[in-house]
């Protein structure tokens, strides 16, 4: 190595501005990368700290999961039965999925496989626009448009019920599911389609027998993300479900959801009181269920992937 080259390489090693910049950016990216983990751990620690005081003292699993009597401010006897809230959330989410899964999968197939050029671009923009509508606006639609409509159409006493909240939640979840499902269909290599067409398959056969099976990981992920959206949504279920503690017999019954209960009651509850801790216990339950849904999604998607390859 010549003297010059040696000098140059030493120059290169010197800790100049560029070196510090490099280090700073590396650190920034690293912190950004692990921040999600920090946040999730922090949130869980917070919810647990606020709620576990109740879980380990007053909590009665039989009452919590088996009774509908949610009376945290009773003067006679305070009871914390969350059964009706759990059933309420499940029934609204269930109906929302019945509404949104066929719609959004069909929309994804149309946008991804049939629509071309202008139509396709317009549809994509419109679907994304639908996802941008704030949930309070959806709730307002439920309250002021769907409510009288359901009363008039079905002759039921009140239009704020499972049907109202479920349909609105379905419409809210549909654009997200459509977008993700369409991405999954787009990720299927064109070679698959061309190969199928070369074998004489019709367009419908290509989609049904080749594209959808090849994209099912993504489609399952889309559906589960929609379920998670429904479970956690608050504003719409608060406004459109009727917010009544009730085990529904039909879609025309009013219900109350876990999220809506927390939203409605937490604001006026004394911090650290039994009622406050019970609301955080509902939060722990919601967290656990959402975690379970995501974990299941992950396991299913991985399982399919392993089998597929």
């Amino acid at each position: 190595m010549t003297r010059d080259a040696l000098a140059r390489s030493r120059d290169f090693d010197r800790r100049g501005a560029a070196w510090y910049m490099d280090r700073a950016v590396t650190l920034f990216v690293f912190v950004g990368g692990i921040s999600a983990i920090l946040f999730i751990v922090g949130i869980f620690a917070f919810i647990a700290r606020e709620g576990f005081g109740f879980v380990f003292t007053e909590f009665d699993a039989g009452e919590f999961f088996g009774s509908i009597a949610w009376r945290p401010t009773s003067m006679i006897e305070r009871t914390y039965g969350a059964l009706a809230l759990i059933v309420g959330t499940a029934s609204i989410t269930g109906l929302a999925m019945v509404v949104s899964i066929p719609f959004s999968l069909a929309a994804a197939v149309f946008i991804g496989e049939f629509a071309r050029g202008r139509t396709r671009e317009t549809l994509k923009v419109l679907v994304e626009l639908l996802a941008a509508i704030p949930s309070v606006v959806w709730g307002f639609i439920g309250l002021s448009i769907m409510n009288p409509l359901i009363i008039d159409t079905f002759g039921v006493p009140i239009g704020l019920n499972v049907l109202n909240a479920g349909v609105i939640l379905g419409l809210m979840a549909a654009p997200i599911m459509t977008t993700i499902a369409e991405d999954a269909l787009k990720a299927v290599p064109d070679g698959y389609r061309e190969a199928a067409e070369a074998l004489g398959a019709t367009r419908w056969q290509v989609i049904r027998k080749v594209v959808i099976p090849a994209a099912r990981n993504g489609l399952v992920a889309a559906v589960l993300l929609g379920v998670g959206r429904g479970f956690g949504e608050t504003m719409v279920v608060l406004m459109a479900s009727g917010h009544a503690i009730n085990l529904p017999d039909s879609v025309f019954d009013s219900v109350r959801a876990l999220t809506a209960t927390i939203a409605a009651e937490l604001g006026e509850t004394a911090v650290g009181s039994e009622h406050y801790q019970a609301l955080f216990t509902l939060g722990i339950l919601l967290f656990a269920v959402t975690f379970a849904i995501n974990l299941t999604a992950d396991v299913i998607v991985r399982g399919i992937r392993r089998k597929g390859r």
Binding site: P72, M75, I151, G155, L160, N246, S254, R256, G267
Partner: protein, 295 residues
């Protein structure tokens, strides 16, 4: 603005900085801020008071926020507000918490609120006894159909009474439970709305519904039947709330941590004076004593 109040001096580590900041600002004519928080029932009238008071004393600004009686009281206990608005009396546990925190809350009666029972405008019901009301809302109540009250409700083929109530920690909920249900539990399955106005809106659009909310929220789209605690049925109005003949009328209160002094005392005196009480009347509530107001 809050750190400029005397209480901020307790934050010793910050005191010197704040004292400098406040001192510097007051040279420029900064306004003294009274923090006022609590009952949603009182929030509109409290806002109106704050606005009018800025004309009375431009050196004082009153910052009003809602959130509910319980929120205001706990904020006063924690020392973050100067005046808490409440549509119910403080509970003994709240008073205990305040004493434990070194404050001795003082109660100021500023007016009355009559809770009206609301039904759909087409509902033929004119008369309701307190027993019937308890039978509709109470846990052991047996009244679930309009026909049990002897009426046929047009536009409500199912005949079912749709009960509209409030979320279980609102002051209105607690007061209705006390006055109508004698502190027994509500029947489960009521539609628990999140605001006084929401109750009236829902009843206006639901023929089968019955609800309760402040009289000030009455609109032409709903009807308020008279209530009978004994033989006579009394219609909800400002007069019947004031003379005490209406069975569900409640006091509206302001709480201060300890006896009010300085700007807070002047403000409360003004609220209880003719001008403040007339604003109360204008907002649909009943003043503490009859007042002569210029229309």
């Amino acid at each position: 603005m809050r750190p400029c109040s005397p209480r901020a001096a307790r934050l010793s580590s910050l005191a010197s900085i704040l004292a400098f900041a406040c001192g510097g600002a007051s040279v420029g004519g900064a306004r003294e801020v009274i923090q006022n928080k609590g009952s949603d029932t009182l929030v509109n009238v409290a806002q109106a008071w704050a606005e009018s008071y800025s004309e009375v004393d431009s050196a004082v600004a009153v910052a009003v926020s809602g959130g509910g009686s319980g929120t205001g009281i706990s904020a006063m206990i924690n020392g973050t507000v100067d005046i808490a608005n409440s549509s119910r009396r403080m509970t003994s546990s709240e008073i205990g918490a305040a004493r434990a925190n070194g404050t001795d809350p003082v109660e100021h009666l500023v007016g009355y609120d009559a809770l009206a029972v609301y039904i759909h405008a087409h509902n033929p019901l004119d008369f309701l006894s307190m027993q019937q009301l308890a039978g509709i809302y109470g846990d052991d109540g047996t009244i679930e159909r309009w026909s049990q009250l002897g009426i046929e409700m047009p536009g409500c083929p199912s005949d079912e009474i749709v009960r509209v109530s409030r979320q279980n920690n609102s002051g209105t909920f607690a007061y209705f439970r006390e006055a109508v249900l004698d502190n027994y539990d509500f029947k489960l399955g009521s539609h628990d709305m999140h605001g006084s106005k929401d109750v009236v809106d829902l009843v206006a659009h639901t023929p089968c519904a019955i609800g309760y909310s402040g009289l000030a929220y009455a609109t032409p789209e709903v009807k308020t039947p008279c209530l009978a605690a004994s033989d006579t049925c009394v219609a909800p109005s400002m007069e019947t709330a004031l003379d005490g003949s209406y069975p569900i009328s409640r006091p509206l209160l302001m709480y201060t941590p300890g006896d009010p002094v300085g700007e807070v005392k002047e403000y409360l005196d003004w609220v209880l004076g003719e001008e403040g009480q007339c604003i109360m009347l204008e907002a649909g509530y009943t003043p503490v004593a009859p007042v002569e107001c210029v229309q």
